[in-house]
């Protein structure tokens, strides 16, 4: 299982929206956070989100202990089980 959390603020809504475009990904809500989860990897394309760099590199609020970030660069955010 892969789970990450993103705070629901205007700058971050595109992150959750792009994540949800993958049918394998579920985007739920826990309080004011998006809970983005999948059985396998979650990959979010930065350009598809339209996030400027300052927003992009600070958009992750939390990553569950059974998951880890394996890529967070100008191209994509990738979180995988592990």
């Amino acid at each position: 299982m892969t789970t990450l959390y993103v705070l629901d603020i205007p700058e971050n809504t595109a992150v959750a929206k792009v994540a949800a475009e993958d049918a394998a990904v579920t985007v739920g809500q826990i309080g004011p956070y998006f809970e983005i989860s999948a059985a396998g990897p979650i990959v979010i394309d930065r350009r598809a989100t339209g996030c400027r760099h300052a927003v992009w590199y600070s958009c992750v609020a939390g990553v569950a202990r059974d998951s880890r970030i394996t890529q967070h660069d100008k191209n994509a955010l990738r979180v995988e089980p592990g």
């Binding site: 603020i9 309080g31 300052a54």
Partner: protein, 210 residues
């Protein structure tokens, strides 16, 4: 969260030394238009080596102030030898990374984009032009260094802070304190601890009515 009542009312003043009061007054009063609002002319007293000094203040809005000390008869060498980086208060050798040297700064708030650009115009017409204009997460800022080498930022909020950002900030700090209490703190460990706090505390959170 603290239950202590919050009684303070912003910055009274923040103070820095200067060895170039003429340029300092040009920058803050004549370029930026910050009024001189207070000054103290003091004969050296207390410790025997204390020089005579002028302590002068500029209004930075909201009745908050930036202040300078000018000590007669001193030069920047009073603070140590020359450095490859830094300002007249703190100097560093070339090996010290720029992120560290540039970390300490004063940010002055403006109401909106018009005001930010007005200060940009004033600086760009001076000897201290804007070095950088950046949209951060939720604020937009311009930066320059004053005649003393101090980094000065002027910044505007691009939108009001939302209540959930206050929750998030508190979860971050609680997670940070947990992580730095253990060996080898890292960003990954912080995000893992914060995820636990989100699960434990975010679902039951409700914004406080204004």
């Amino acid at each position: 969260m603290s239950d202590l009542d919050h009684r303070v009312r912003g910055v009274d003043h923040v103070a820095f030394p200067t060895f170039d009061p003429a340029a300092t007054v040009r920058f803050y009063r004549d370029v930026l238009g910050f009024p001189v609002v207070h000054s103290i002319c003091a004969a050296g007293w207390g410790p025997a080596d204390h020089p005579d000094f002028i302590h002068f203040f500029f209004d930075i809005g909201n009745d908050d102030r930036i202040a300078f000390f000018y000590y007669f008869g001193t030069t920047p060498e009073v603070g140590g030898g020359p450095g490859a980086k830094g300002d007249v208060y703190a100097r560093f050798d070339a090996a010290v990374p720029d992120y560290f040297v540039g970390s300490r700064h004063l940010a002055i708030h403006v109401d909106d984009e018009d005001d930010l650009l007005e200060y940009r115009r004033r600086l760009d017409a001076s000897n201290w032009p804007v070095e950088m204009q950046v949209k951060h997460e939720t604020i937009e800022s311009i930066y320059t260094h004053d005649p003393n080498g101090y980094m000065v930022e002027l910044t505007r909020a691009m939108r009001p802070v939302t209540p959930q950002e206050d929750l998030d900030a508190n979860l971050t700090i609680d997670a940070l304190l947990d992580v730095v209490a253990e060996p080898d703190p890292s960003f990954g460990k912080l995000l893992a601890r914060k995820a636990e706090l989100i699960v434990a505390r975010a679902a039951g959170w409700a914004p406080v009515a204004p």
